[in-house]
């Protein structure tokens, strides 16, 4: 394969100049003429009947333009699992019952935020509090309060995955371990909170500017909830201040602004406060994990059984997918001949749990990698060796589930083994823990029930050779606009600066399912590559007609040079060919369309990335406090399209996933989140951030554009497990519930001390 001109190069992001000068305009910054400001009134009760809502006083406040409640809606219930109506269970503006502290009951539009805020205090809501349930293990008891009527034992959804003969296999094992774990919640903490500006006009058309991971999903869900036609709703995603899984469902900012705007035919803006962001948007799914693992003496893993009960919170959201994926990724990245998973998602009267970067896999990786280290120790086998013995390899089929083509897990293990050796003998109370992982490059499932291709793109070439790339892909900060522009430029044979991307505007871009499940590089990348290839094909027809009497000659374009493949010095300028081609087509623009939907790629994903991470910690045995010294990751994500982007994804994942292991948590009292502020919700700041080293492994994924696959979420999976294993190596205590706080470490150290005596 020839050397690439664009991909693999260190480039500036296409949105870079705007972002470093403060000129990028986020939804948060938008102001439209005549715009009103909205606020949302939320339930103070975890579970209550709404008896009466009196909005008269609020409506009389000077400056208030509208007050809406559930009665102003169609009363539809929304959910992202649209294929299963029983899982569409969220009204957004509740009509009869509230199910968590933060459930919206009314919304106000006023001339400014202060007036809207004041009006909220004037709305009288009469509630009849109902018994509530907060812990899923309580909620599945016979006599537990019912979060949704008619749902037996509050079980929202269950998932079963099985292959081989698990019970028979356990009989053949030399050693079996059974362990329990508890995975905590985590807040996304996007720097830009959820926000929307919605403008509904007298002509019956709606425009939505919003911070989102999927403008297409918002368009479709908004149509479901408002009764408008999909085509009458245009959703535009301006630069978006982070998503991490929290921004691809219809949220209260978008929906309430829409209902208010429809009442007034004026633009309405709603920005959630940081407290609302913590308490009334979605969060990572907490899980109780019960694991049984069986092995032969030599470390061969014969069977694994995982049982999971998740805290669902009040509604389904994307939690159903997290339930499935945690079960699937519980088998990762190993070749279990026999595997069984049973997961139950349980409704509780708590804030809704849903997707967050890693999508169930950070939980399964923490528990699985912790237990595997325990198994290795029981058997007297080196942790890397047991991973090597059982790790996935290229062209491996996960029975009945997935087919893995490219896989660089073993090269990653080798690299990490070298790294650990290089660190040599560590100071006292230091330890290095290892954790291996894999993740998908986009999901195959279509619970959303879209009739469209999963990804699509249109490429149009202008007379001066500038290329407009239209794609539904959503850049939420991860850099898809840059990556897709690079793919387009490479395929078309032009420079990156020749591409202008127009993304995530449903009015002009083809639908794309959005930025979740690490899908944009592979799925939208394939669509973009195909659209660009179609344009190139049209240009090369003209080139051939112009230049080559011999039809056996092949043409290509590279660096704006249209040339014979075998004699690259013979060619013409790309700009000349574009001009001639457009004239030759009677002025019809050169346009190419491309789409991608995975077919015959199993149940989960068309491709998987892999990696191994080593975390080094230094524990203070007096206080239980520990420092993250270094996190080194060997990973492979196929061909690297955008190296600067991958470094950023990797280091950023360590901040987020390290936080999951190290400090982030959402303690609750009777359904009330106790730390709904950035001051109280502990995140890794610069002083806590470890050194981060990256060991790049080359692989090539046949299904991906130019051989690329995901590099976004998989990197969030290993860190909590690596930290847990490192703490154990350092001071010999094992913490099975996240986060691994100094208090827990200290308590465990004291118990260990006591046992010694």
């Amino acid at each position: 394969m020839s050397e690439y001109s664009v991909i693999g190069k260190r480039v500036h992001r296409v949105d870079g100049p705007e972002k470093v000068t403060g000129s990028a305009k986020y939804t948060f910054d938008l102001v439209l003429p005549g715009m009103l400001y909205g606020k949302v009134l939320r339930s103070p009760h975890p579970h209550a009947k709404i008896l009466k809502i009196d909005t008269r006083k609020a409506k009389r406040l000077v400056g208030v333009k509208a007050v809406v409640t559930g009665k102003d809606t169609l009363g539809h219930k929304q959910g992202i699992w649209r294929r299963f109506p029983e899982l569409c269970d969220e009204e957004i503006l509740c009509r009869e019952k509230v199910r968590y502290i933060g459930d919206p009951v009314a919304a106000v539009a006023a001339i400014d935020e202060d007036t809207a805020e004041e009006a909220l205090d004037l709305i009288d809501v009469e509630y009849e509090p109902l018994p509530a349930v907060f812990d899923p293990l309580e909620a599945i008891k016979e006599d537990a309060p019912q979060v949704h009527d008619g749902i037996e034992l509050n079980i929202n959804i269950n998932r079963h995955i099985e292959w081989g003969d698990v019970d028979e296999a356990f009989k053949k094992c030399d050693h079996i371990r059974e362990d329990q774990f508890k995975c905590s919640s985590q807040a996304h903490v996007c720097m830009e909170t959820h926000d929307a500006v919605v403008s509904y006009d007298y002509g019956g058309k709606m425009t939505v500017w919003t911070s989102t991971q999927s403008s297409y999903y918002i368009q479709r869900l908004m149509a479901d909830m408002t009764g408008l036609r999909e085509g009458d709703i245009r959703v535009i995603k301006p630069p978006t201040g982070g998503g991490f899984g929290s921004k691809f469902e219809l949220d209260s900012a978008q929906f309430c602004a829409a209902i208010l705007s429809m009442k007034l035919c004026k633009p309405v803006k709603i920005v959630l406060s940081r407290e609302e962001e913590f308490t009334a948007t979605k969060r990572r799914t907490p899980m109780y994990y019960f694991l049984k693992l069986g092995a032969k003496k030599d470390g061969t893993l014969l069977a694994k059984e995982a049982r999971v009960i998740t805290e669902g919170g009040a509604y389904t959201a994307m939690g159903a997918t997290a339930l499935y994926l945690t079960g699937f990724f519980s088998s990762f990245p190993y070749k279990y001949p026999n595997y069984r998973y049973d997961g139950y998602r349980v409704y509780t009267n708590t804030a809704v749990t849903s997707a967050m970067r890693g999508f169930g896999a950070p939980q399964s990786t923490f528990v699985g990698e912790s237990q595997l280290d325990m198994m290795a120790e029981d058997l007297g086998i080196d942790p890397i060796e047991i991973r090597r013995k059982n790790g996935m390899t290229p062209n491996y089929e996960v029975p009945g589930q997935a087919f893995i083509q490219s896989c660089g897990l073993h090269q990653c293990l080798d690299k990490i083994e070298e790294h650990v050796k290089e660190r040599g003998k560590l100071p006292p109370n230091h330890g290095i823990g290892v954790s291996a992982y894999g993740f998908m490059s986009g999901g195959i499932f279509n619970w959303f029930d879209t009739p469209y291709a999963f990804s699509a793109a249109v490429v149009r070439i202008n007379i001066d050779g500038k290329v407009d790339l239209f794609t539904g892909a959503c850049d939420i900060g991860q850099g898809s606009d840059t990556t897709l522009s690079m793919i387009c430029a490479e395929e078309l044979g032009v420079k990156l600066e020749d591409i202008r991307i127009h993304a995530a505007d449903t009015g002009i871009c083809p639908p794309d399912l959005g930025a979740w499940g690490s899908r944009e590089t592979l799925m939208n990348g394939n669509a973009v590559k195909r659209a660009a290839a179609e344009c190139k094909r049209q240009l090369l027809e003209f080139a051939a007609a112009k230049m080559a009497p011999n039809i056996a000659y092949d043409f290509d374009i590279k660096d704006r040079w249209v040339h014979l493949v075998d004699r690259p010095e013979r060619g013409v300028s790309y700009f000349d060919i574009v001009k001639e081609a457009i004239r030759g087509k009677d002025g019809n623009a050169i346009m190419g369309r491309g789409h991608y939907t995975p077919h015959r790629k199993g149940m989960i994903s068309p491709a998987y990335s892999f990696g191994v991470q080593a975390a080094e910690v230094a524990v203070d045995t007096e206080t239980g406090r520990y420092k993250l010294v270094n996190v080194t990751t060997a990973h492979e994500s196929g061909t690297v399209i955008n190296p600067v982007g991958i470094e950023g994804q990797l280091e950023g994942a360590i901040m987020m996933a390290g936080g999951y292991g190290f400090c982030e948590d959402q303690p609750m009292d009777e359904g009330k989140i106790l730390n709904p502020s950035i001051a109280d919700y502990k995140l890794i700041r610069s002083l806590d951030m470890p050194e981060t080293d990256i060991l790049e492994i080359d692989t090539y994924e046949p299904e991906g554009p130019f051989g690329a696959k995901e590099a976004g979420e998989g990197l969030t999976n290993p860190t909590a497990g690596a930290i847990g294993n490192a703490v154990y190596k350092a001071v010999g205590v094992r913490i099975n519930d996240l986060p691994i706080t100094p208090e827990k470490v200290l308590k465990a150290l004291k118990e260990k001390e006591k046992k010694k005596k």
């Binding site: 470093v20 403060g22 940081r274 950023g648 280091e651 950023g652 610069s686």
Partner: protein, 159 residues
Amino acid sequence: MKKELKLKVNGQPYDIFVKPKTLLVEALRDHLALTGTKRGCNSSSCGACTIMLNGMAVKSCSILALQANGAEIVTIEGLAKGTELSPLQKAFLDHGSYQCGFCTAGMLMATTALLTENPKPTKQEIKEGIDGNICRCTGYNSIIRAVTAVVKGEYKEAK
């Protein structure tokens, strides 16, 4: 009752009237339309609203606009000279020191203030300089690398 507020922002004098409760960040964003400065928390915990006030990094949600009366303020919009980016802005571009970009204004202002005060900070001092600023995307290390490159003189100030 609104009160008069005189400010110099990015070299430009302004004379406006604000409510006594108006925060400096609100005056900048809502009155002067300088929306490059962001608000992430309103409780001076995230650093997205960091600006330079009389040469020091200040979280503009932590003070009232009227407390800044007569002050000289620099916001993200004032870093470039004309269309020439500042050394830190260039270094941020090269090192990919931003992703979603929502914390970037605060990060650039915090690090600009740091280098104004201490042109040769150590790595530890750079870390301390941005410890009040949350970035949920990058993991900070690319920001630290960008500042280090500027400290090493790899980027020249625009004339």
